[in-house]
């Protein structure tokens, strides 16, 4: 069994002008695909873990194998967290849950933005839920994935520099502000219990 790169949920230019076609080209074809290629290279040596799902690898592996599996999973989740039709205020159950957990959408937006822009180094900002749909903001470092800690991811924002450098250079806060124009509330709702 070889690991495959899941298709992008939209065309590479679909998130423009917020995120450029150039960014999606490099981010998806080079970085995301690069992790898949590397995992297949490692799996070709037929170790015991070859063929296991990304979730299993995330929960049981470490080092370079974990890094590839986690980054494949993280990026797949990231593409789905964005949508050409995204942005605006949350609707549906997620809107209620946000108000319950954070007081208001604005308060949540501020906290999530702070977590994303304030993360030192490479990593990810996540909205996660527990088994009671209680929402929480967590950040992970480098390839870190919250399912390893038993969280259920709802949305993610990639804060590795490659995610924003082409379009925003060093201005990560501006990139985060743009992320809010693309956030996929439908996907968020689908990740609730």
């Amino acid at each position: 069994m070889t690991y495959e790169l899941p298709p992008l949920p939209y065309a590479k230019n679909a998130l423009a002008p917020h995120l450029s076609e150039e960014t999606l080209n490099f981010h998806y074809e080079k970085h995301h695909r690069g992790y898949v290629n590397k995992l297949n290279q490692l799996a070709a040596e037929k170790p015991a873990w070859a063929g296991k799902s990304y979730e299993e690898l995330i929960k049981t592996e470490s080092g370079v194998v974990f890094n590839q599996a986690a980054q494949i999973w993280n990026h797949t989740f990231y593409w789905k967290s964005l949508s050409p039709n995204g942005g605006g205020a949350p609707t549906g159950k997620i809107a209620e849950l946000i108000n319950e957990a954070f007081g208001s959408f604005d308060a949540f937006k501020e906290k999530f933005s702070a977590a994303a822009s304030g993360h030192f180094g490479s990593g990810w900002a996540w909205l996660v839920r527990d088994d009671n749909n209680k929402l929480q903001i967590v950040s992970t470092h480098d390839a870190g994935n919250p399912i390893k800690d038993g969280h259920n991811p709802v949305l993610t924002c990639d804060v590795w520099e490659h995610a924003y450098y082409i379009d925003f250079r060093n201005d990560r806060p501006k990139y985060i502000a743009t992320w809010w124009n693309l956030v996929n509330w439908e996907f968020a709702n689908s990740n609730l219990k």
Partner: protein, 235 residues
């Protein structure tokens, strides 16, 4: 913690001092109400922004120095000021991550600018002498040294730095890496290579090996040799 800045041009001695001071056990000291943290400043680049072309672009050098390094300096000043004013150990501990991140960023980048030199300048030649011999002894050859430094730096998962460091305990040159903006404390820094994406992305995108090959054209071996000599004599 004394971290005196001496103005725009930081000698590497100052950087060693900064790194060393980070190793000291916490000093019990009551800070007078008027005590203030030192003000760190962005050191000038020793060359023009375009001096490392075509290996590292002017755009990268400009953003890297004026934006990224400046942000670490600003962040360090803010973190240190808050740290000095923090009234409890708990509050000071909460600020330590910001001091480490921004302080390390300032140390690392100050070292970095000085261990780069303009394309084609004499400093980029590794000439025969004590330092070159030490490299050949430690790695077998200069090519083997290059390969090991590049391989280990490229293997960093995330952001960090690859270093040629001098191990004072074993009196040997070794390749080590640090994560994020952690300063190199286990060894004396001789050559640092920034592998954060901001160091190369605009020009090299995801192709780290191309950047790592290119940077060898602009490493300042004269500075490296001087650091090595200083490290040896202060053992």
């Amino acid at each position: 913690v004394s971290t005196q800045s001496t103005g725009p041009l930081h000698g590497y001695h100052t950087m060693f001092a900064i790194a060393r001071s980070a190793l000291r056990a916490p000093v019990r000291r009551t800070f007078a109400a008027s005590a203030s943290a030192s003000v760190h400043t962005l050191p000038d680049l020793p060359y023009d922004y375009n001096a490392l072309e075509p290996h590292i672009s002017a755009e990268i050098m400009t953003l890297h120095h004026k934006k990224h390094h400046q942000t670490y300096v600003t962040g360090l000043n803010a973190a240190e000021e808050a740290y000095v004013k923090a009234p409890t150990p708990k509050e000071r501990i909460a600020l330590q991550a910001a001091v480490k991140f921004n302080g390390g960023g300032h140390i690392n980048h100050s070292l970095f600018w000085k261990n780069l030199a303009p394309t084609g300048s004499p400093e980029t030649k590794l000439s025969g002498g004590e330092f070159k011999e030490a490299i050949e002894k430690a790695f077998g050859s200069v090519d083997a040294f290059k390969k090991e430094l590049n391989t280990k730096t490229a293997a960093i998962q995330g952001s960090g730095w690859g270093w040629l460091g001098y191990n004072k305990a074993t009196k040997s040159l070794e390749i080590v890496t640090t994560a994020n903006q952690d300063p190199l404390l286990s060894h004396v820094p001789i050559i640092g290579i920034d592998i954060w994406e901001h160091a190369f992305y605009l020009q090299y995108k995801n192709v780290k090996p191309d950047y790592l090959n290119a940077i060898w054209n602009v490493l300042n071996f004269k500075e490296a040799a001087a650091r090595y000599k200083e490290a040896r004599s202060s053992s």
